[in-house]
């Protein structure tokens, strides 16, 4: 249980970022014709910020199939996150795996896997991180929908930087050698190019796959170098 609270507390610094976008989501859901309870229900069931923003934006014009497909496409990056955390979850029961997958978000995944990398991670820590983001997202979404007033764009106050800054702090856990640094630099550069020329969530998948592939390739080169 101690690990659960440790994970929850470690995730709290990200909460202001979640809350700012949760309020914005609730407000936009109201404008799209949702009742506060419906806006809340979407957060409680789907729990995926980017997808919910996209769906709320297209709600009045799109049909069911495009809505569900959009959700799927935006969330495809979770496949990569799931794959990378899977080796750490191998010893768990199917029920635990299913539970950890349920509320896995970009943010809680990042917090949990950085702790695994430091050798101090665990499923309770992961669950604590998941629960922290889930509660912050659902609560702020409901609050935004209940208030229903126009709130200013979070980026005006730099609140859109909370996640990137948090990720930056977590990134340090993976920069212990030259290969880790090279992977981060190349993946970051690829993502930047993608954002400028063909924006979309697919960038995370491509930069994630190519960057990590580069890491493995460099590791092989280093190994061959040392043994020669």
């Amino acid at each position: 249980m101690k690990d659960f609270w440790r994970g929850l507390l470690a995730t709290l610094p990200l909460a202001p970022g979640v809350a700012a976008f949760g309020l914005l989501y609730g407000m936009m859901a109201r404008q799209a014709g949702f009742s506060p309870w419906e806006a809340w229900a979407m957060s409680l069931t789907v729990h995926a910020g980017s997808a919910q923003f996209a769906v709320v934006g297209m709600w009045e014009t799109a049909g069911v199939v495009p809505i569900v497909l959009t959700t799927l496409v935006i969330n495809l990056r979770h496949l990569l996150l799931g794959a990378s955390v899977a080796p750490y979850l191998r010893g768990l029961s199917p029920l635990w795996k299913a539970l950890l997958a349920l509320w896995m978000s970009d943010e809680s995944y990042a917090v949990a896997i950085a702790e695994y990398e430091r050798g101090q991670g665990g499923h309770l820590y992961f669950l604590g991180a998941n629960v922290a983001i889930y509660l912050a997202w659902a609560t702020s979404g409901l609050l935004g929908a209940l208030l229903g007033v126009t709130i200013p764009d979070p980026s005006q106050y730099g609140l859109d930087l909370v996640f990137p800054l948090g990720f930056l702090g977590l990134l340090t856990a993976f920069l212990n050698d030259r290969i880790g640094v090279a992977v981060a630099v190349v993946a970051g550069a690829l993502a930047l190019l993608g954002t400028v020329f063909v924006p979309g969530k697919w960038i995370i998948i491509v930069a994630g796959l190519l960057g990590s592939g580069l890491g493995l390739a460099l590791e092989e080169v280093e190994r061959a170098w040392k043994s020669s």
């Binding site: 419906e38 069911v64 990569l80 997958a101 730099g158 930087l161 800054l165 970051g188 592939g213």
Partner: protein, 101 residues
């Protein structure tokens, strides 16, 4: 009621993306794949950070977010702490904003 059904559909496909690989790689993960997957977190985290800092509006710009991220990177390097990185980066953002940068 119809809305709830759509939410359920959205939740289902989202859950698929979250659970599929955790289930598929549930037992023995080949060593080569495991070594590859170990580099996924730094790649994904960098891919989430760099565009947000250097192209927040979708085009390259050296604005407030970039300077805040650089301050954050410095704090992250020295402290390795998520909390202090956020505090340092946000403080840099607000201070620069107040100075009218």
């Amino acid at each position: 009621m119809e809305k709830l059904l759509i939410f359920f559909g959205m939740a289902l496909v989202t859950y698929f993306t979250r659970y599929a690989m955790i289930a598929a790689l549930g037992r023995d993960v080949p060593l080569l794949l495991r070594r590859w997957l170990r580099y996924v977190p730094p790649a994904v985290l960098a891919a989430l950070v760099v565009p947000a800092a250097l192209a927040p509006q979708g085009r390259l710009e050296l604005g407030l977010p970039a300077w805040a991220a650089m301050a954050g990177a410095l704090v992250a390097w020295r402290t390795r702490s998520v909390l202090w990185t956020i505090v340092g980066g946000m403080a840099a953002f607000w201070i620069l904003q107040m100075l009218g940068a």
